[in-house]
C-alpha cells in the first residue's frame, strides 16, 4: 500500500514587495512529504527556509503554486480558516519555546485545545497530561514555565505540539537555544516520536541534525538544491551517551 501524502507542494512561489523591489523568497518549490517521515529542511539564512516554514505552517499563502496539507488545499483559504487548520493539523515547536509566562506546564499544553470547542475541560486536561507524559514530564505537570530549565521548557513546547494529534510537527530551530547535551536529548525525543509514526519537519541551519532524520531537503536561493533520503540514520541516544558526562559543580 502506498504511503499517505501529508504535505504536497507544487511549484510554490512566494514574492515579497520591498519598496519598489520584488524579493523572490521562494522560486518554485515542489515536494511531497509522506506520513511518518522525519525531514530536516536546511539552508543558510536567506535561503528561504523561514518563508517555506511559514507556508508549511499555513501562516502564509503562496503567491503562486499549490499547497495541500493532509489533502486540503491551503492557497485560497482565509485567515480564520487557516487558523482552524493549524489548530487541527499542525504542531509548532519554536526556537525560544514560546510558553505562556507564569502558566503551568499543563495549561501551556492545553492551549491549542482551548481553541477547539469539541474538547471539554476534562478531555483537554487528560490530553495535555498524556502529551506531557509522552515527552517525559509526567512528574512536572504543575510546574510553571519560569520554574523550568530550557530543556524542560522545550519539552513542554513539544508536548503542546503533540496535544492536538497533528498531521505534522513543525519544528523551527527547536534545538537552537539549547546546549549540546540538551539538544541531543531533544533529538532523542524527536526520534522516539518518529518511531511512533509521527511526521516531523525540522527546520534548521545545523547540518549535524540532518544525520538523525530520515530525509534532508536543502534550500538555496529559494529553490531546492538537494533532496536526499538518509539511509544511515544515526541514533541520537548513542550520541548522547557518548557525550562527556556533565561535571557537577
Amino acid at each position: 500500500m502506498e504511503k499517505k501524502v501529508v504535505i504536497e507542494l507544487r511549484d510554490v512561489k512566494r514574492n515579497f514587495q520591498v519598496g519598489s523591489e520584488t524579493v523572490h523568497a521562494l522560486r518554485g518549490v515542489s515536494f511531497k512529504i509522506y506520513e511518518g517521515e522525519f525531514v530536516t529542511i536546511m539552508g543558510t539564512s536567506g535561503s528561504g527556509k523561514s518563508t517555506l516554514l511559514n507556508q508549511l505552517g499555513c501562516l502564509d499563502t503562496p503567491t503562486s503554486g499549490e499547497y495541500y496539507l493532509d489533502g486540503t488545499p491551503v492557497k485560497n483559504m482565509k485567515r480564520s480558516q487557516r487558523a482552524v487548520l493549524r489548530n487541527r493539523k499542525i504542531g509548532f515547536v519554536f526556537q525560544n519555546y514560546n510558553l505562556l509566562a507564569k502558566t503551568t506546564a499543563v495549561e501551556n499544553v492545553e492551549l491549542p485545545l482551548m481553541y477547539n470547542t469539541t474538547y471539554s475541560a476534562k478531555q483537554r486536561r487528560e490530553a495535555a497530561i498524556k502529551a506531557l507524559q509522552a515527552v517525559g514530564l509526567g512528574d512536572r505537570l504543575e510546574h510553571k514555565s519560569n520554574q523550568m530549565s530550557g530543556g524542560q521548557m522545550q519539552r513542554v513546547a513539544i508536548a503542546r505540539a503533540l496535544v492536538n494529534n497533528p498531521a505534522v510537527i513543525l519544528a523551527d530551530e527547536a534545538t537552537g537555544n539549547l546546549d549540546t547535551r540538551t539538544s541531543f536529548e531533544m533529538l532523542v525525543l524527536f526520534q522516539k516520536l518518529h518511531r511512533e509514526g509521527r511526521t516531523i519537519i525540522f527546520v534548521t541551519h545545523n547540518p549535524e541534525i540532518a544525520q538523525y532524520s530520515s530525509r534532508n531537503i536543502t534550500l538555496r536561493d529559494g529553490k531546492i538544491r538537494e533532496d536526499v533520503e538518509n539511509t544511515n540514520i544515526l541514533d541520537a541516544a548513542e550520541a548522547l551517551a557518548a557525550l562527556p558526562k556533565p561535571q557537577d559543580d
Partner: protein, 405 residues
C-alpha cells in the same frame, strides 16, 4: 474559545498585572462612585422635599386672589378682594373631589403674656384647617364651629409661641394672651413640626377662628387664601378643575377671559421644587460622568500597551489556532472585566459615600436605577474602549507577532 475559557484567560491576564489593573480600575471606581453619590444626593434631596411638603399635606390646594389689571395698572394679588365669603360657602357642598375647605386670613404682630412676648402670625381659619395642613393638637383642644359662629376670641398656639410665652413650663391651656391688644384664650397647643427645608420655623404661629381674625383684627370681609384638601393626592387635578369652574361661575368670568384667582396644588409646588433639584442633579451627574469617560480612555490606553507587550503571546495563540476573533474577544473580555470590576467596586464606594453624606446630614438615597445604569455604562465603556486595542490585536500578522522581541 468557549465563554468560560475566555473569562479564565482574561482573569489570569488581569491578575498577572495587578498594580496596573488596579490603577486603571481606580478611574472607573472614582467615576462610578461620583455618579452614584451625586445621584444619591439628588434623589435624597428630592425625597426630603417631598417628605417636607407631604408633612404640610400633599393633597392641599391653595386658592389665592389672582393678579388683575385695573385701568391698565397691574394690581398686587394680595390687595385683591376677590375671594369672598360666598365663594367659601359655595365650596362647602356639592364638590365631588374636595374633602375639607378652610378660608384663611392672617395678621403678623406681637403677642404678649405678662413679661414675655414674641412676634408671630395669627391665621384665621376654620377648624378644618388642622386636617388640611395635617396639624395635630398636642395639648388641649381645637376650637369649634361654634367658636367660628360666635367670633370667640380663642386660639391654638404653636410650640414656639408656647415656649416663648410660657418659658417655665407653665401650662398655657386656659391662659389668656394678647395679640395686638386683643385677648385670646389659649385652648390648645399644636404638636411641633420643626423647621422646614427652607429654614422656616413652622411652629411659630397662632390659629384662631377666621371670623374673629377678620372682625377683631384685620377688619376685612375677604380672604387672602382658601385652603382646600382634595380627597387624595391623585385627585388634586380633578379638584382643581372643579374649583376653577365653580369660582369662574361665582365671579361671572366670561369664556376666554383670565381667572381672577390662582389655584395651585401642593403637587405643583413639589414638582417645581423637584424640577430644580433635577436640573442640579443632572449637572452634577454629567460632571461625574466625564470622569467615567476619562477612565474609559485610561483603560483603552492600558489595553493598547498590553496588546503591544503581549505581541508574542498573540502570535503564539494565533499559530496554535486562535482566529482573529478569538484574540479580539480575549482582549475585549479583559477590558470589560476591568471596567465591570471597577464598576462594582465603584457602586460599593458610592453606597459608602452616600452613607457618609448622610452622616454629614446631607440627604442621600441611592436610587436602584442609578446602580443598574452605572453597571450598564461600565459594560459599555469596557466594550467601546476595549474595541480599538482588541482589533489591533486581532489584525496582527502571526508570523511577525511570534518573532516579536
Amino acid at each position: 474559545m468557549s465563554f468560560t475559557n475566555l473569562i479564565r484567560v482574561a482573569i489570569t491576564a488581569i491578575l498577572s498585572n495587578k498594580s496596573r489593573t488596579l490603577l486603571s480600575t481606580l478611574g472607573i471606581i472614582i467615576g462610578v462612585a461620583a455618579v452614584i453619590i451625586m445621584m444619591a444626593i439628588g434623589q435624597g434631596s428630592k425625597e426630603s422635599i417631598r417628605k417636607e411638603i407631604s408633612k404640610m399635606g400633599s393633597n392641599v390646594i391653595t386658592i389665592r386672589p389672582g393678579a388683575d389689571t385695573r385701568g391698565g395698572v397691574r394690581q398686587d394679588p394680595s390687595a385683591m378682594q376677590t375671594l369672598k365669603m360666598s365663594d367659601y360657602e359655595s365650596m362647602l357642598s356639592g364638590l365631588k373631589y374636595v374633602q375639607h375647605v378652610s378660608p384663611e386670613v392672617s395678621q403678623s404682630g406681637q403677642v404678649v403674656n405678662g413679661n414675655n412676648n414674641t412676634v408671630t402670625t395669627v391665621y384665621g381659619v376654620s377648624p378644618e384647617y388642622l386636617s388640611i395642613r395635617l396639624w395635630k393638637v398636642q395639648e388641649g383642644d381645637s376650637f369649634t364651629d361654634e367658636d367660628v359662629r360666635k367670633n370667640t376670641k380663642v386660639c391654638i398656639i404653636g410650640k414656639t409661641v408656647a415656649d416663648e410665652l410660657f418659658p417655665d413650663g407653665q401650662n398655657p391651656i386656659g391662659r389668656t394672651i394678647r395679640f395686638k391688644n386683643i385677648p385670646f384664650r389659649v385652648v390648645g397647643v399644636l404638636k411641633s413640626k420643626g423647621y422646614n427645608n427652607w429654614g422656616m420655623d413652622q411652629d411659630n404661629l397662632m390659629i384662631a377662628p377666621y371670623t374673629t381674625v377678620m372682625k377683631r383684627l384685620a377688619a376685612q370681609n375677604y380672604f387672602s387664601t382658601i385652603n382646600v384638601s382634595a380627597l387624595s393626592e391623585e385627585m388634586s387635578e380633578k379638584a382643581i378643575n372643579e374649583l376653577t369652574q365653580l369660582l369662574r361661575a361665582n365671579h361671572k368670568i366670561k369664556d376666554g377671559a383670565d381667572d381672577d384667582f390662582t389655584i395651585r396644588s401642593q403637587q405643583e409646588i413639589m414638582e417645581t421644587m423637584t424640577t430644580t433639584m433635577d436640573t442640579v442633579t443632572l449637572i452634577l451627574v454629567v460632571a461625574a460622568a466625564f470622569s467615567l469617560l476619562v477612565a474609559g480612555i485610561g483603560i483603552m490606553n492600558i489595553m493598547l500597551v498590553s496588546v503591544t507587550e503581549r505581541t508574542k503571546e498573540i502570535g503564539l495563540r494565533m499559530s496554535v489556532g486562535a482566529r482573529g476573533r478569538d484574540i479580539s474577544r480575549q482582549f475585549l473580555f479583559e477590558s470589560i472585566i476591568i471596567s465591570l470590576t471597577g464598576g462594582l467596586i465603584g457602586i460599593g464606594v458610592g453606597y459608602l459615600g452616600s452613607w457618609v453624606a448622610m452622616l454629614m446630614s446631607l440627604p442621600a438615597s441611592v436610587p436602584l436605577w442609578s446602580v443598574l445604569l452605572s453597571f450598564g455604562v461600565c459594560a459599555c465603556i469596557g466594550l467601546i474602549f476595549g474595541y480599538v486595542p482588541a482589533r489591533k490585536a486581532a489584525l496582527m500578522d502571526p508570523i511577525e507577532a511570534i518573532r516579536y522581541e
